[in-house]
Assembly symmetry: C2
Homo-oligomer: 214 residues x 2
């Protein structure tokens, strides 16, 4: 008789940002985020206090990595700034770039910062009870623009994969999210950003996931 | 230049169970649910009061129906019973049966009632802040076992499709969820349930989604 994957319930704890019954977890420390922020001097100055602190952690449930399945989990992200720039996740495009993702705000005030291969920028608020749909082909990064933990549920196709290098290869994302000095945030241009060339963009559009049968 | 699908934020209103920026919505009235419950006489007796009432409604965001994309939305379901059996959704297996789904409890007390093609039964509580992972190949139906609206976020692969007939073809799901007379619920055997034959099960296992490129 066929053995089916067992259904499961995963409870999310808003106080800790953890999820029960995860298949995996990881943490990103401040030291892991070197190079992400515009103000390198401010980053260095923060190391004494922040170096070994966890900036964000993820609990995930990853049943399989085959096409057609889903991976979901929770991201918890501390509040903070490097210089005037709000804390961000590393950000990624999906390795199979035509895969989307949803983020569902649970706690705190966040943003999804998005960039198309051609360099179009979008910002979608991720507040509690708001789902952000990240369509295929968008590079995306979460930003905590609040003063408390940002907690989000995420879900994406199991064969998406993550390409974290695409952002570094362009000198960062085109926009940075900084303190506006009035209790809010604003989007500023990243002067180090370099457009992707046509071949790089074409390669992203070629994403051809492999269908795996079980 | 390529035009990308635009990112979007969809806010969920727990009071109404509605989601902003949906691409579609539908309602199921009591009259649409004829045949789902064990106690047909109790169903008929309720028609005078309930016939045109909405038992559950769905707001969804359906960007595309191509492989690798995601559909998400919100289901709101009224509390109630037909005889001693709690209100249920129609229930389905995915037309591409190897597609999974997640449900995330937001309000109320619910259950996910699951049945494998071979007739194995599982019950997963769907309480607020609990994600239920419905793995590939499981028939599933939501049950409101509480006294208030059940509100759940759902997300599934865009090429899943729904087969609602599989349940009727077996005389209903194998288990029914009924009032235990003590403020809770219990699972009882459905005497009308008929096992699926080997050919039907084999056909489900042959699910071969078509990969569509854009």
């Amino acid at each position: 008789m066929t053995t089916y994957f067992e259904p499961v319930g995963c409870a999310i704890d808003l106080a800790t940002g953890a999820m029960s019954n995860p298949t995996g977890q990881y943490k990103k420390h401040f030291r892991d985020l070197d190079g992400l922020y515009g103000d390198a001097a401010a980053f260095e100055a923060m190391r004494a206090e922040w170096n070994d602190r966890v900036v964000y952690d993820v609990s995930e449930f990853r049943p399989r990595e085959t096409a057609g399945d889903l991976i979901f989990g929770v991201t918890r992200m501390s509040p903070g700034k490097v210089g005037d720039e709000f804390f961000v996740t590393r950000g990624h495009i999906h390795r199979n770039a035509d895969r989307p993702e949803i983020y569902y705000g649970q706690k705190g005030r966040g943003l999804m910062l998005l960039e198309s291969p051609a360099g179009e920028v979008r910002v979608v608020p991720v507040e509690p009870m708001t789902v952000c749909y990240v369509p295929p082909f968008w590079i995306h990064r979460s930003v905590n623009v609040g003063s408390e933990d940002l907690v989000m549920l995420f879900c994406y196709p199991a064969d998406s994969g993550q390409d974290y290098e695409i952002i570094a290869c362009s000198g960062g994302m085109r926009a940075r999210i900084v303190d506006d000095g009035a209790g809010g945030w604003k989007e500023v241009e990243n002067p180090d950003w370099r457009p992707r060339d046509a071949a790089t963009i074409a390669a992203l559009h070629q994403a051809k996931p492999v269908e795996v049968s079980i």
